[in-house]
């Protein structure tokens, strides 16, 4: 089974600074999908960004971008110009093209310091 590892249980960043959240995964598949979800306190998880493994170009969504290193099986999230509203739990997730389920990491709790 695929596994997803987030080695940083907690991170903090000063407002307006940049922070990178790490995620690694293990798979034998060559094609798959990777996601970062954000879960604000007492709110639902919402999609931040997604990456298709067959695409070499790193995905970007406004202040959010990923560094996808397929050979290293690494999928880090960079948040630029951090804002107070970015404070949340961030989950990295893997999805196979052949199944329904997401495989999640344990999450990284991000604190934004004013």
């Amino acid at each position: 089974a695929q596994t997803v590892t987030q080695s940083q249980p907690e991170m903090s960043v000063q407002e307006a600074e940049t922070v990178t959240l790490s995620c690694t995964y293990d798979t034998s598949e060559s094609d798959y999908y990777l996601f970062w979800y954000k879960q604000p306190p007492s709110r639902q998880m919402i999609l931040v960004i997604r990456q298709e493994a067959y695409k070499q170009q790193n995905a970007t969504e406004n202040r959010f971008s990923v560094n996808f290193q397929k050979a290293a099986k690494s999928f880090s999230l960079k948040i630029s110009d951090s804002q107070l509203g970015d404070a949340a739990m961030y989950f990295c997730a893997y999805r196979s093209p052949y199944g329904n389920q997401f495989y999640f990491g344990t999450g990284t709790s991000l604190t934004v310091i004013p």
Binding site: D31, M45, Q101, F104, G105, T106
Partner: protein
Amino acid sequence: EPEVTQTPSHQVTQMGQEVILRCVPISNHLYFYWYRQILGQKVEFLVSFYNNEISEKSEIFDDQFSVERPDGSNFTLKIRSTKLEDSAMYFCASTKEREWGHNEQFFGPGTRLTVL
């Protein structure tokens, strides 16, 4: 913007009791999921549901669990005889389109189940 909703937000029950967790997926979505997260652990897949039947389930989803779409809007997870280890946050999710890998799943806010 449409959201997945879940009720109750927190459920406390005695060991051995039956509980039903309720979810209202986004109205035009066709695929439904349950996940759980034991405190401090990963979010784990339980089951997916399409066209009134289970399409995939994990090892966690044993005979104590069942899912149902009793009407056109609700999607429920039933645990027949709760155990202490069932204490967790339970997330419902839904997807509109076919289960292509790139499609995002829309998650509800979760129900925290506490089994005493």
